[in-house]
Symmetry: C2
Subunit: 193 residues, 2 copies
DNA sequence: CGCGACGTTGATTTGCCTCAACGATTGTGG
DNA sequence: CCACAATCGTTGAGGCAAATCAACGTCGCG
């Protein structure tokens, strides 16, 4: 059974028949991406949605001063896309880069559209996926308002131990919205006690 | 044609036949909510999704110290819900309160489920609605990282003039994640020049 | 080995918060 | 319709969390 991880992930959102899972899986193609290679660059239109099988990606954007802001990371079992650019086929604000040698399943805009049309339950599936994603983005924004940098850091490493251990401090700091110098101080402030 | 605003809003996301719009509209019931009255309180389960016809609501949560954090506002033409609580029928973290005498269309969990089953295009509709919402939450989080409080304030009043003019500074400050004292200083810092 | 990216640490600065006191405005009951 | 309370907005003083800048140590890689 190919793409077991994808099938399992989908079934977690919405239990589907093996036949439907086959149909969906068939629309994806495997791509291997070497460390530091970009899957998407700002200004380009995002032609795919991805599901990570192996490795690690970061999704980031640039602010006015040209600083990289890490939006999120995707390791095995995570979805990966520039929703806005993919949906509207407009130039992307986002960059997607492999942080390790990685394997990712990609589905093109065309295949996705066909899939939506031919298998209506896929609409429900992604309705649920986006709905859940929305909840977690709302929660993240609340945490950014309520918690200190230190609290956000510890929440992150506890909530995503499998992600945080793969990342450099620089990338974690950017994700949390703090400077990497300050993150370094946070981490070392606990060793004293 | 009742609920014209709702039909127009839906058509903006996904053009539908009048028949489908009728079917959808029929699932909603009008509710009038007086100023300061709560549509939902934290701890209760959210039994509805709402679409605002008139007036203004705020959606907020409480942090550990009991401070109110305004998550977002909804005026006419905006959707209003605790996605998480509605989807899973679990107790809500959120409070929804009318800031003016308001009119809102509500759809119950049961009606929504039936609607999803009976009219598959509704899955697509809400898939698109949630997808777009997700994009705007991602953008908002980026703005919170990149922009200063002052820049965020001016972005807000320019992006949502019809909302910001209805709100007290206290509520805007909470939405922006700053103290109302500091917002007052931001507003007055421009008069000097 | 030597270079460049990353991490650490300290000094200094700054954006924003907290607290407090005081006007302004709104709402409400007599 | 006014008086008074309550809420909201303004302003200033002081403090703190986190940024910035700079110097230096360390590690991985070509």
């Amino acid at each position: 059974m190919p793409y077991h991880l994808l099938r399992e992930n989908i079934n977690n959102y919405l239990p589907l028949s093996n036949k439907d899972l086959d149909t969906i899986s068939d629309c994806f193609t495997l791509k291997e991406v070497s460390k530091k290679v970009f899957l998407l660059r700002g200004g380009k239109t995002c032609r795919f949605e991805g599901f990570v099988l192996e490795g690690c990606f970061r999704v980031f954007t640039l602010d006015q001063k040209g600083n990289e802001i890490n939006l999120y990371f995707a390791v095995e079992g995570w979805w990966l896309m520039d929703i806005d650019s993919f949906m509207n086929q407009t130039p992307s604000d986002l960059y997607i880069q492999a942080l390790e040698d990685s394997k990712v399943l990609l589905i093109s805009k065309e295949s996705k559209s066909k899939l939506y049309d031919s298998l209506p339950v896929v609409e429900k599936l992604f309705r649920i996926i986006f709905q859940k994603a929305l909840v977690s983005w709302q929660r993240r924004l609340i945490r950014n308002h309520c918690l200190t940098a230190k609290e956000r850091y510890f929440h992150f490493i506890e909530a995503y131990p499998n992600i945080s251990t793969k990342l450099s401090n620089k990338h974690i700091a950017s994700y949390l919205g703090i400077s990497h110098e300050f993150l370094s101080k946070i981490k070392n402030s606990n060793k004293a006690t």
